[in-house]
């Protein structure tokens, strides 16, 4: 926004008003961060791959380039079947969780909202637990049933919370939706805990699933989540200006011609599809949906026209880095990625909070 032009001699000189968008240097910073994260994620691992070798291999795969890769067949396989798909999955999952978190915070006008607010994580965990216990190792159309059950559980939980919240809602629909989500999550978690306790044999497997991880098995995870991630990202990004209008509350938004309930419905559907897909494949990775959007708010701005696109890029970068750390911190073992996101995320968030509070009014 530009400063005022003085009003000379009674002639009105309109103030130049610009539409809100991501400041260009933050666009560069966030895309740069994502690029650096991807390079680190691809380059770091138990098997040594040189940056030059990786670049050569990428180059060799470009169309119209006739230069063979310098990597051995085994290195090629590690790069393209393990590292790259894992980094891509991490980027998709991180971007989705961050953008879904921003979307939930915007539609519910609640800074503590995360993608699991309406019970997505509890539903996914119940679904996954039941699948691990009752149909271990089974697949549906080539997809592990655990993922299918987790996706179904997450979607059904949110749908249930939505229906319940709307039916009880009336005027205060936002509050009743959140309360319905809390109730559904508590209920499903109770069943999940019960099922887990009754089947102590699989408790390690269930526990490992709950903590979250990025799959290492090739491109299947990527192809499973990609369509939902795209839907989620496109819908939420398209709603970024409307999310700003929603910050006025339902009545004021309606007086500006926006239908708040309809907006909330579509944004929640999109965010839930993305979240459910990510949770189904990677487990309920915590904190990304809260800390990334809030970090953007604290460092750049509060408008959803800034928060949504930057959360997408920075969430992706963050999860790729967190996963790299999860792989190397206690190598050859792996830490659950949920542990890393919380371990790094929480202190980092505190630093951002403290350093920006000094600058705040």
């Amino acid at each position: 926004m530009e400063a005022a032009t003085p009003n000379d001699g009674g002639v009105l000189q309109p103030v130049a008003v610009r539409s809100l968008r991501v400041p260009w240097r933050w666009a560069v910073v966030s895309l740069g961060a994502l690029l650096v994260a991807i390079v680190i994620g691809v380059a770091v691992g138990p098997a040594h791959l040189s940056l030059g070798g990786i670049a050569g291999s990428v180059f060799a795969r470009l169309p119209f380039v006739h230069r063979p890769s310098a990597l051995t067949a085994q290195q090629e396989s590690i790069l393209w079947s393990l590292r790259v798909p894992r980094v891509v999955l991490g980027a998709l999952a991180g971007g989705t969780l961050a953008v879904a978190g921003a979307a939930y915070q915007g539609t519910f006008r609640n800074p503590l909202a995360d993608p699991y607010l309406l019970g997505a994580a509890a539903g996914a965990e119940l679904g996954a637990t039941l699948a691990i216990i009752f149909v271990p190792g089974q697949a549906l159309l080539g997809v592990n049933l655990v993922a299918v059950a987790a996706f179904a559980g997450a979607s059904l939980a949110v749908a249930g919370a939505y229906v319940l919240g709307r039916s009880a809602g009336g005027v205060r629909s936002v509050t009743s939706l959140i309360l319905a989500g809390v109730a559904i999550a508590a209920f499903l978690t109770a069943i999940q805990t019960y099922a887990q306790q009754r089947n102590a044999d699989q408790i390690r497997q269930v526990y490992a699933w709950l903590l979250g991880r990025l799959q290492t098995a090739g491109w299947q995870g990527v192809s499973l989540v990609a369509p939902y991630v795209v839907i989620c990202a496109v819908v939420v990004v398209a709603h970024r200006r409307v999310l700003d209008v929603l910050q006025f509350g339902d009545d004021e938004a309606a007086s500006l011609g926006v239908r708040p309930r309809r907006v909330r419905f579509w944004v929640v559907v999109a965010a839930t599809l993305g979240t459910a897909a990510v949770v189904a494949v990677c487990g309920a990775i915590a904190f990304v949906g809260i800390i990334i959007p809030h970090t953007v708010r604290l460092m750049v701005g509060r408008s959803y026209r800034v928060v949504v696109p930057l959360s997408l890029a920075l969430g992706a970068a963050f999860l790729v880095l967190a996963d790299t750390l999860a792989r190397v911190a206690v190598a050859p073992a792996e830490l659950p990625i949920g542990v890393i996101t919380a371990l790094i995320g929480a202190p980092f968030f505190v630093v951002v909070l403290r350093s920006t509070r000094a600058a705040a009014p």
Binding site: M1, E2, A3, A4, T5, P6, N7, L12, Q13, P14, V15, A16, V17, R18, S19, L20, G170, V171, A238, H239, R241, V242, D244, V245, Q247, F248, G249, D251, E252, A254, S255, L256, G257, V258, R259, R297, G301, R302, S303, P361
Partner: protein, 265 residues
């Protein structure tokens, strides 16, 4: 023009407005007065299409029931009593969001929208504050920003819910003078709800007294603001003094008690 015909509103079985009819001609200013809970805000919300109601409300000859929310928002702009002002949003961003009714669902603002917002900001003398965050404005400046967002809607009808609450007496007059100027220059039709009877009576062309959702009186200030009526319906002790032509100043007067009269002596 606003035409309200036999409108009743109830919230879950509790009636808040009962069979109220009114007409505000184009360029006119009608202010709803009445004690707390009289149904003033509910009636304003009904005119803005925000609450369901019985009866018919027409804006410029078109019933609100036949209009999509966006079309209503192009005809009516609302200045709420306690607007949500996101503290981190700048004045310019805030005013620009007033263009929402003119944008399709997922569109972004165009050059025309930015120009309208710029003109509104200049007109309300918010230019120096355009890039300031709403959380850093004074009460009066913030009220002007809210009016700015409403004006950016370019709607011919302006609804004001308690436009002067929490402002000092100078800012109260400033805001009402501003509204009156806009009304005269642009032919805005104004429907307001106010508690300050003195100010209400001096700015509105017509006053309507609502009590418990029912219309008690409607007319010029000198017709509606009578001592008997105010004492009866507000349970207040007042004096009513003539101001200007048909204006009336309503002065609350403390009950004469022994202690108070001693101090006066």
């Amino acid at each position: 023009m606003i035409r309200v015909e036999h409108v009743s509103i109830d919230y879950g079985g509790a009636p808040v407005v009962r069979d109220v009819s009114l007409v505000v001609p184009s360029g006119g200013w009608l202010t709803l007065i009445g004690p707390n809970g009289a149904g003033k805000t509910s009636l304003l919300k009904a005119v803005a299409g925000l609450v369901g109601h019985e009866g018919r409300i027409a804006l410029g000859g078109v019933a609100t029931g036949d209009l999509a929310p966006r079309e209503v928002a192009r005809r009516v702009a609302v200045v709420p009593q306690e607007p949500e002002v996101p503290p981190g949003m700048t004045v310019a961003e805030y005013v620009l969001l007033g263009r929402t009714p003119h944008l399709t669902y997922l569109a972004r603002e165009g050059a025309r929208d930015r120009r309208v917002a710029g003109e509104v900001i200049e007109r309300l003398q918010l230019g120096a504050l355009a890039s300031r965050e709403l959380g850093r404005l004074s009460g009066g400046e913030r009220r002007r920003a809210v009016i700015g967002r409403a004006l950016a809607q370019q709607a011919p009808i302006l609804l004001l819910d308690e436009p002067t609450t929490s402002l000092d007496v100078g800012r109260q007059q400033e805001v009402l003078d501003l509204i009156d100027d806009l009304r005269r220059q642009d032919g805005l039709t104004v429907l307001a709800a106010m508690h300050d009877l003195t100010l209400a009576g001096q700015y509105a062309e017509e006053l309507m007294l609502l009590v418990n959702g029912e219309m008690i009186a409607c007319g010029r200030a000198d017709e509606v603001l009578t001592r008997a009526s105010i004492e009866r319906h507000y349970g207040a002790r007042v004096r009513v003094l003539p101001v200007l032509a048909a204006g009336r100043a309503v002065v609350p007067v403390r009950e004469q008690r022994a202690a108070a009269s001693e101090e006066e002596d």
